[in-house]
Symmetry: C2
């Protein structure tokens, strides 16, 4: 079993940022400078083509640390960020670019779906190994409640199969903006933990009904769908329930700092 | 033009409750005991078969008064609460009961839609006359920002056509749980103010797609769909944005007391 190897450390605005590696997977851990023993741990997935320190992810991570005192972890998905791309990664990206330029929407969807499945098959065990290693850190341990902090698109395409097989995750934020396929629907049917699902109402390429079917599939008795107008690339969220993870990760009764 | 005639007054938990009549329409006004000069005014509609002091409506009204300092007004819809039923009201109720007992779902929907249209045609001018009269009260006046506080089912079937033609309403909460018809979709297309829309995800009788089409129809650039599992009769809402009206009725920056 791999351990967490810290490679860099910095801090700003009360947030400690530590880069790490588990096996060959690079990640980053954000936590309060003032310490965070056994605070809830939130796993965040980045969007397709992005990486563990994408600005939008960083902003959400900082908010989770400064508002709720959570620890937040993110890792690069296979072929993303600081990770090497395999021949398959390169081929898929070339095919996808070509299909998009040619306006072949069905081929774009088919390639995206297959690549998403391939990425999730590789990323899920990587998240589990990362979680194993993080739980060996004394400040996290096995007592820290764990949530998946999601993010839309690829973060959800990986997060759903991860949450479906990972009993340590007890609440999850997911979202739309990617092509939904049958294996994801089936994984959603196995998920029973509380879910917050963010739907960009006017996604340019993704059929809205397929995403609504995904929300419908979650077996969770407690789930919330939140939709605002816009495409996942330009959406502005408002009226969001920012206390969702805090309520479900055992910070009931706490309020924003 | 009618005036507000107060008929009874009581108070509990810091909330002043005043029954009133405008013309032949009985209503109730809730406001802080400590006074509420020109505070935002929230209009609340009750559900089908219910009345202006239904428990769920009362609870929301009290929350609006005590948390945000709003004034809240509710009136009985035609044929509801303290109002006499016309021969049409009695006939429709008898027809509806019969169709439900016989399990004639299409006839239930047809009767409900036509009755909803009839109620809205009568209720919209009543709400406007009530608003005219309330604005003549010195503690409200024409300065108080006005929102529609909705409620699902009938409160929305009346609130949508009201908001579509009433420029004094600058934000509205609507919700599902009733049969959507084309005239409502057309009214929604004329609405541009910020909307919060509450969807019971598993309504027993109402087609989910028709309600999603209604949300889609609002021309508002700012609109939020919020769905939780359940039928409108037994739904438990959570993760709601309770500050929606406060933000849009000019109480920006205020926080719950």
């Amino acid at each position: 079993m791999h351990s967490v190897r810290f490679t860099a450390e910095t801090s700003s605005n009360g947030v400690l940022e530590r880069d790490f590696i588990v096996g060959e997977v690079p990640g980053v851990l954000w936590s309060p400078v003032s310490g965070s023993d056994h605070a809830p741990l939130v796993l965040m997935g980045h969007g397709g083509g992005l990486h563990k320190k994408a600005p939008e992810l960083m902003a959400r991570a900082h908010e989770n640390v400064t508002t709720w005192g959570f620890t937040v972890a993110a890792i690069d998905a296979p072929g993303h960020g600081d990770r090497p791309r395999t021949a398959e990664d390169e081929q898929v990206r070339a095919d996808l670019r070509q299909a998009m330029l040619a306006g072949e929407t069905e081929r774009v969807e088919s390639i995206s779906v297959h690549y998403g499945i391939s990425l999730a098959e590789r990323a899920v065990p990587e998240w589990q190994a990362t979680l194993d290693a993080l739980q060996k850190l004394p400040e996290i341990g096995t007592e820290a409640p764990i949530g998946y902090g999601g993010g839309i698109t690829l973060g959800t395409a990986i997060g759903i199969p991860l949450t479906a097989i990972e009993p340590r995750i007890t609440a999850a934020i997911f979202g739309g903006g990617f092509f939904v396929h049958e294996a994801l629907i089936e994984a959603a049917r196995r998920i029973t933990v509380p879910i917050q699902f963010l739907l960009p109402w006017d996604d340019e390429h993704v059929d809205r009904q397929s995403t609504l079917a995904l929300f419908d599939a979650f077996a969770s008795t407690e789930k919330t769908l939140h939709a605002n107008p816009g495409d996942h690339r330009n959406i502005r969220w408002y009226g969001l329930d920012h206390g969702f993870l805090a309520r479900h990760l055992g910070r009931v009764g706490t309020s924003p700092a």
